[in-house]
Structures are given as structure tokens and as C-alpha cells.
Amino acid sequence: MAQRAIREYDGKAIFSKHWEKYFSGFHYGFKSVLVTSGDELRACAQKHGFEWLKQEALVAKPDMLFGKRGKNDLVLFRTNKPGDVTLEEAAKWIDEKIAHETILLTGQKGTLTHFIVEPFTPHAQDQEYYISATTVGEDDVLYLSAEGGMEVEEGWEEKVNEVTIPITMDDANIEHLIRANVPAGIPAENKERFIAFAEQFYKFYRDQNFAYLEINPIVMVGNDMHILDLVARLDDTAGFMMGEAWCGAEFPTAFGMEDQSPEEKAIAEADSKSGASLKLTILNPMGRIWTMVAGGGASVVYADTIADLSGNVADLANYGEYSGGPTTGETKFYAETVLDLMTRHKDPKGQDKILIIGGAIANFTDVAKTFTGIIQAFEVYADRMKAHNTRIYVRRGGPNYEKGLKDIKEAADRLGLYIEVYGPETHVTDIVRMALEK
């Protein structure tokens, strides 16, 4: 949660919605559409207000949170020469892109699904500027540069002025500070305009609860502002106060990350419906050590310890946690999901599978009750667990833990499963050492 990236299109829509309020004296056309196919783009062009799609040269690029689209050759702005892309050419290009997997220079791969299409904006390099704002430590920092585009990234130290704005600073002082830090390279005739825009940009960033907002480049033609490329993150914890102000912006998953397994999806869905917390990430489906850990902090230290002590992080099959008092049914579902995944593949080296049922000392969760769900899952999966030589290590404390440990031990013994159980007298992660040393 907290800071989450939004699409370029949504960022621009938020700008457009509040433009009159913040950017008086400037004009912004907001000619952008977000489409998922060529046909959708063609259909858009038939709508009133979108005639420009047929009339103007276009630019098309994926709108999926990743940057360096130019370097990845994913910006369509020319067929034969810059600024000659027609609607039909853009539509075809989009259809080509969605038809197969795309691999970025970073190695991230996935299928492109969302594209932003805008008019081609002819402009000179010296009309490009850079502006962004974010939080550094406890302060806001505004970054300003007389140069935009790739240029600025290649000479950040010399070209960018950083304006640090403390959280409690009033508007008069903010304006004063920005004025005092305007980049020297801004041409005299644009200086006042740039200062005014920078002040308005900061207030917009602040009031709309952005966590990060970057326009690179912003093209200034007189009082016409062209937002050519935009990156934005919102503080989603502020969502409850913002209502319609965010134009219903969604928080998409990062490109290449959307391919969750059905099991991860199922747990995420159960999590969204429950008052408790259920999290599951599969790290290596072939891994030999599987964890079922209660509590966020504990889940981290178990993962840490497994990586440290096994010496091979590939042994760790999953990461996740359950907490906040899940029902017996929810715990059973969670446990069955993990046990099912664990017993799908034979260990390539023929080693035992290890199941860590860990947790710190609970505050008020009834340990015996949560173990009931796990025991029920054992009953379903006992044979498969035995077929994979599963060794179970349990460590937990908190209300009713003695009964919980006794119950799970009895159940495992009855089902013929190998189990060791420990309470709060044993260090929380020490079962990892015991499991690996045996």
C-alpha cells in the first residue's frame, strides 16, 4: 500500500480535471486516449471530441508504468518521417504489439495491454523543460531544469536545481524559495512563466496527494503547455479524502508482474474478502522449504533465516503470512493451498520437503483455533505429504499455545507425519536451523 504508480493517462486526466483551478494563465489541451486494441482506438476516433485522432499526426506508446519506452523502441511517432503516423497506422501498430510477448531491456517481460495515443507535438529541443516533485526524508523536493527529455537524465547533477520544501512551509515562503532557485538556463522571456508554472505545479502535487510527479519533458509554447511524458505515484492512503479528484485512477500491477499463479490469485481474493490478512507469493515452485507463518514481521525473519542458513535461496519456495485472526475455514484453505503446491513436484535431488509452521508469540489470536484449520488440511494431504518425505517443524506462542501444539502433534502422529513442535522457550526461527541440520 501507500505509494502506488498510476498510468500516464490517468495522471494527465487528473491534471486536466484541476487545470483551471491550479494553472491559471496556462492552457492544456488534454488530447489523450487510453486503449487496449487497434479497434478500440478506431472506435474512439468516431466519438465526438476525438476528431483529432483522424485529423492529426499521432504518437502511440504503452502506458504500463515502465519507463525508457523510447530506448525500448516502443514509441510510435514516425512511419517514414517524424510526425506522419496516421490513425490506421497507430491502430495496426497496437495490434502488432498486443499479439506477442515483449521483452524490455531490463529483462522484464510480458504482454503489452494498455496504450496511450496522443497528437504528435512538433517542437524544438529548447522548448523542453523538466519538472518533478517527490518526498525525500520528511521534506518535499521540487526538481527543476531548463533542459528536458533524455538530456536531463544524462547530466542530472549540473542541470537540475533541487528545491527542498519543508512540510510546514507556507505558500508565501514556498513561492519565494522557488523563485530563488529557478534554473539559470531558462531563457529570460520564459522565466516568469516558468516560475509561475513551477509554483502551481508544486501546489497541485501537494494538494492532490501525489507521492511522485514528473513531467519530462514539458513543452512550453507561449502559454500552451504540452505534457509529453508523465510519471506519477499517488499516496493511496489519501484516497478516502480525494473522492472524484483522482478521476477514478486505478493502480495497475507493474509490467511483467501481472502473471500471478492461480493459487496466488485465489489467496489474494480470499484476503480481499476477509477481515484477516492472507498473503502468498510463490518464489520457487520447485523449492524444498515451504512456510506457513503467522504475522508480517515473523514471516520476514523466517524468510531471512532460511536464506541465511540454507545457503541457497532457491530452497525457499514461498513467502507469505496469515494474521489478524483468520477463521478456521480460511486457515484450512490457506494451508491446503500451500500443501498442494508443496506436494506437486518431487525434489530434484531427492531431499526431504520441509514445512515450517512458524510464528511469533501472538497477542490475542487463539493459537489452538488457528491450528485447527491446519490440522484439517493435514488430514486431506497426509498421503501426499508422506510421499514427499515431508518434515514438519512448528513454533508458536500466545494464547492457548500449549493446546495448539499438543493438538497438531497428536494429529501428525495419528496421520503418520514427521513433526517437531516448539513453544516460546525456543527461539522463533531456531526450527529453521533444526530442520536444516537434520
Partner: protein, 605 residues
């Protein structure tokens, strides 16, 4: 600085989180605290004046207020605010509390997911005001043997197992609330427990950070060494490293950052809290662990070795004599079965040898030589205070003044008619009493209420008269059927004379007399009457006795003024009833020629 909490620390609890409050009070009882750690509850939407909680086997009442400012006025020494408001309101609650100057030393904020910009503003405002914010997104903290925040430490059994019931020698700071218990447990097994512990909270922006807490612990003589459990992400640990390097912190620190796993996974997997993701190499858990070790902190090889490191440092400090052996304190046990009480009584008690009125045995107030009059008994049983003689004399004067006003007034008339219908004393008395209300006897209440309202708001007498006109109300306490400026009501003269001689001051009466000057200039009989004088002087009496305006408004609202009329006039009513019985008067039937009959045939609809 020094200790964050002491055995006298009291908190105001924002939100009636009954289970958390009960856990605090159970802890208080077990560790033999003198006063409960929760002084008051703030619950804006509650209609209750207090909530009951168990304190050991008994129940106690914790007062409930609508807002923090009122609670702070009532409990000026409660210097901790436990802000259990939701993420929607937690910011406002904290900001209001900071604005109450000099009240709160620390504010704990439990809500997770407060908008970041608000969290930053709140944290800065607190720093500027010198208030320590613990959280947001935290389970809180504890000073074992002194004060425990809400749910920290879990059940009483775990608290005792983890030695959180008495001070040890470790200062513990964690980010995670879930591992706080675990660390307390580790420290109790491998050392002698903690002296003070704080979970600073999992959100990206928290009020007090590691360094704030560690510097305070450095200055707390009970803390001999510290354990710091950090997390991947952020740079807060580096401030600690700087403080150790510069010698600002000299006590040994055992430190570990969790989340070393994150380095194995390039992106996408969120290990732990909102604040827990590394934006730079320096923010990784591994880099921080190395840097902390280099600065001279005790950093284990892995989290699994943390207990060993704690045991080693503890053994060393014990050998050096820095840490002395702890004498285990006597604890009280909280009964397993406790029953809630259905009724509460705060004015009298019949359980001892002799029944008491507000603590005074009846025999000590009853007979003449005790010096107690009926006014004293009223002050004890109605107001739970012993009033000075000038005040109890006034109460008696009021009762004597209102005891009767002849047979023609509606209450007395009703009592007489009922008595003549053959009913008993109680029935007859009750019919008389049931007449008392807005038109009969109610002027005392209303006079006190409206004159006080005007006076509290600084209205001039003329503005007050205007105001009442606009409201369409006659001024209660002004006007008499017969009496006038030239023919004064001697009861009023007597009351005024008594007040002038015995009351320390009479601001409201002075105001009322100014009003009277204006009203009598219009009409001679618009004088301050006896009802008005009684009500207004009652307010002046309470003010002189030191009650707050809020208390006095409460008395008026509860009908305490009316009650004086009820008690006084009952004497008169009973007189009339006995008079009827004595005279053996027959059933009364009103003569028909005294009634205007105007009855028409009902229309059919």
C-alpha cells in the same frame, strides 16, 4: 528526558476500546499500581458519562468525555494520549491534542494508513511542540512495572512469562509490533527483561524514530543497553550509526535489520511493512547490518543468532557490575471470574457498621449537637460535598422560603382535591408534585438557565432582554402579580440581604438586578421575583464554591433547582393534605356554572 513513563503516568484514551483499556487496567492491578493508568476516555459519539471496568476483582468507573480538551481540563496530569482513532480521524485527534498546550508529553497513534502528507504534518507539529509521537501504525510501547500501552505484551500470562511486569535493564526499539512481544520474550530468556520498549510503527512516516527513542534511553539510568530491531528500507538506522560514532550514544546497542531476504529478489515482492522497501543499496538490510557492525554495535551473524548475542552482552554487563540482580516483585492476580455490577451508587453506603451519607455516618450528622442541619445533609447526598455554613444556610433558606404559597396555587389545589377524594397522603402529595413543571415552580430552573446563559456570553442587560424577545420567551424570574418596586416582595429582600452579607460575591444577581432596572422602567411590577432570586443566587453560590460553569450547567440540566422546590413545597402540600383530613372535607365537585360549555355535534368524516 529519562524514562518515557513512570508508575504515576496516566493516559487519556481516545476511543472507547474496551478490551484494550481492560488489559491496561488488569496490568495496572497485577503490578500494584496505585492509580489506574487510564484516567479518562474520549468518545465523541458516546452518550455515557463513564464506562465501567474491572480493577482486580472490583469495578471502577472511568469518566467519558466528548472531546480531548474537556478530558484534559478534568485530568490536567494525564500526559499521555492514546489515540485509537481510525486512519480517517487520527490526524485531527493528534493535532487537537498538540494544541492543548502543556498537556501531553507523548501521543501514541495506532491507526495504520494515515495519508502520508497528514502524517508528516502531524509528526512535524509534534516535534515543534516537544511532544513525542509513538506511531502511527504501532502497537505502542511499555515501561514494565509502570505503564503499558493498550495491547502491548499480549495476555497477562505472556506478560509475566516475558518479564514485562517489572523493569529489566534493556531498552528495546522495534519497528514491527508483531515481533515486539517476541523480542521481549527473547530478552527475558537471555537477559533480565526490558526497562522500556517502543514499537515505532510500520508506516513510512512515523513520529519518533529509532534515534529519538535510543537517545532517550541513553539518558534513562534504568536502561543499561539497547536492542534495536530495524527493517529493510529507509535510512533511520544510519542516524543511530552516526550517534554511536559521535559518542552521543555510549551504551551498548545490539542491532539487527530484518529483511535480508529482499536482496535475493529484484522487485515486486513486498517483504514486510509499507515502509519496508529499499530504494537504494544503503537501504538494504544487509548494508545496514554491516554498517551497524562497523560502527561498533553488536550485530549477530543472522537473526537466528540474536539470542546468543543478547546473552553475551548481558553476561558481560553483569560481570562488569553494570547490571545488578533484580529483586522479583510481589504480584497480584486478576481473578479468573468477575461479575459486572448492575447498579452503581456513589452517594451512600450501608455495608459497614453504620450507613453513611457520602462517607459520614448518619449518627454524625443527625442530632443537633453534630452541628449538621438539613442543608448539610442535602449537600452531602445531592452534591457529595460538605458545603460551608453560609451555603447550607442558603439551601435551608430556600427550602423554608418555598415551603408554601397558600391553597389556591395549582399544586396545592390538586393535592387538596385528591385528599378530598379519599386518597392517602402519598397519592395526594404526588398529584400536587406532578403539577410542578414549566408553569408551576419551573421559573427557578429557567431563571437560572437564561440569566446564566446571557451572563456566560457577555450579553448586556439590554441585549438579554432583546434576545428573549426575539426567542419569543418571557423572562423567567421577572414579574409579579401584585408586588412591585414600591411594594417589594419581602422574601426577595430577605434573600438579597442574606446574599449580600454572606456570599463571597454575587455576579449573576448583580446582572439580574441590572436587568430588573430596565424591566421595571417599563412596567412597575416587572421586578426580580422570588423564583428568579432563588435560581440566580443558587448559581452564584455554586460559582463561589468553585464549580465550573460546565458543572453548574449540569446541575441545572439535571433539575437540581427544581428539586429544591420539590422538597420545600412538599412540606406545604403535606400541610394542606393533613388539613383536609383533619377537616374531614367531602368529595369535591366543581360547580357546573363555573364552566363554559361549548359543545357542538361532531361532524361525520
Amino acid at each position: 528526558m529519562g524514562a518515557l513513563f513512570t508508575k504515576d503516568t496516566q493516559a487519556i484514551f481516545w476511543n472507547n476500546n474496551a478490551s484494550a483499556i481492560q488489559r491496561m487496567l488488569d496490568y495496572d492491578y497485577v503490578i500494584n499500581r496505585e492509580k489506574p493508568s487510564v484516567a479518562a476516555i474520549v468518545a465523541p459519539t458516546s452518550g455515557n458519562k463513564f464506562e465501567k471496568f474491572f480493577y482486580g476483582p472490583d469495578e471502577i468507573m472511568v469518566p467519558v468525555f466528548r472531546n480531548t480538551a474537556e478530558a484534559a481540563i478534568a485530568f490536567p496530569k494525564a500526559d499521555v494520549l492514546l489515540n485509537f482513532a481510525s486512519f480517517r480521524t487520527a490526524y485531527d485527534v493528534t493535532m487537537e491534542a498538540i494544541e492543548i498546550k502543556g498537556q501531553f508529553k507523548s501521543i501514541m497513534v495506532t491507526a495504520e494508513g494515515i495519508p502520508e502528507r497528514l502524517a508528516r504534518k502531524m509528526n512535524q507539529a509534534a516535534r515543534d511542540a516537544g511532544v513525542i509521537v509513538i506511531g502511527p501504525a504501532t502497537v505502542g510501547g511499555i515501561a514494565p512495572g509502570a505503564f503499558k500501552i493498550a495491547n502491548v505484551g499480549g495476555t497477562i500470562e505472556n506478560i509475566i512469562n516475558s518479564k514485562l511486569h517489572r523493569a529489566g535493564s534493556c531498552g528495546l526499539v522495534t519497528r514491527s509490533g508483531g515481533l515486539f512481544n517476541e523480542l521481549s520474550n527473547i530478552i527475558s530468556i537471555n537477559a533480565d527483561g526490558i526497562a522500556e520498549g517502543v514499537a515505532i510503527g510500520g508506516d513510512r512516516f512515523v513520529g519518533s524514530v529509532f534515534i529519538d527513542n535510543l537517545i532517550r534511553m541513553e539518558s534513562n539510568p534504568e536502561v543499561k543497553y539497547m536492542v534495536l530491531l530495524g527493517e529493510v528500507g529507509g535510512t533511520e538506522e544510519y542516524k543511530v550509526i552516526e550517534a554511536v560514532k559521535s559518542g552521543l550514544i555510549k551504551k551498548p546497542i545490539i542491532a539487527w535489520c530484518i529483511g535480508t531476504i529482499a536482496k535475493h529478489f529484484s522487485s515486486g515482492v513486498q517483504f514486510g511493512h509499507a515502509g519496508a522497501s529499499a530504494n537504494a543499496d544503503a537501504e538494504t538490510a544487509a548494508a545496514k547490518n554491516i554498517a551497524m557492525a562497523e560502527a561498533g554495535m553488536f550485530v549477530p551473524a543472522s537473526f537466528n543468532d540474536l539470542p546468543k548475542t543478547i546473552a553475551e552482552v548481558y553476561a558481560k554487563l553483569t560481570m562488569e557490575g553494570t547490571i545488578k540482580e533484580i529483586v522479583e516483585p510481589e504480584l497480584r492476580a486478576v481473578p479468573k471470574v468477575r461479575r459486572k455490577k448492575e447498579f452503581i451508587c456513589t452517594i451512600s453506603d450501608d455495608r459497614g457498621d453504620e450507613a453513611t451519607y457520602a462517607g459520614y455516618p448518619i449518627s454524625s450528622v443527625a442530632t443537633p449537637e453534630t452541628g449538621f442541619g438539613i442543608g448539610d445533609v442535602i449537600s452531602l447526598l445531592w452534591f457529595k460535598k460538605r458545603y460551608p455554613k453560609w451555603a447550607t444556610d442558603y439551601l435551608e433558606t430556600v427550602i423554608k422560603t418555598v415551603a408554601d404559597h397558600g391553597p389556591a396555587v395549582s399544586g396545592a389545589h390538586n393535592a387538596k382535591v385528591t385528599a378530598r377524594a379519599g386518597k392517602d397522603v402519598i397519592s395526594s402529595l404526588v398529584t400536587g408534585l406532578l403539577t410542578i413543571g414549566p408553569r408551576f415552580g419551573g421559573a427557578i430552573d429557567d431563571a437560572a438557565k437564561y440569566f446564566k446563559y446571557a451572563n456566560d456570553r457577555g450579553m448586556s442587560p439590554a441585549e438579554f432582554i432583546d434576545y428573549m424577545k426575539k426567542e419569543g420567551k418571557t423572562i423567567s424570574g421577572i414579574g409579579h402579580r401584585i408586588k412591585s418596586v414600591r411594594n417589594p416582595d419581602l422574601r426577595v429582600s430577605g434573600l438579597k440581604k442574606y446574599a449580600a452579607e454572606h456570599f463571597p460575591s454575587t455576579p449573576l444577581l448583580d446582572f439580574a438586578l441590572e436587568v430588573e432596572k430596565l424591566t421595571t422602567s417599563k412596567k412597575d411590577n416587572l421586578i426580580l421575583n422570588v423564583d428568579g432570586t432563588i435560581g440566580i443566587l443558587m448559581v452564584d453560590m455554586w460559582r463561589a464554591l468553585g464549580y465550573s460553569e460546565l458543572d453548574i450547567d449540569g446541575f441545572i440540566e439535571a433539575g437540581a433547582l427544581n428539586a429544591f422546590f420539590v422538597v420545600g413545597r412538599s412540606i406545604g402540600f403535606i400541610g394542606h393534605i393533613l388539613d383536609e383530613k383533619r377537616l374531614g372535607m367531602p368529595m369535591y365537585r366543581h360547580p357546573t356554572d363555573d364552566i363554559l360549555y361549548n359543545v357542538e355535534l361532531a361532524d361525520e368524516i
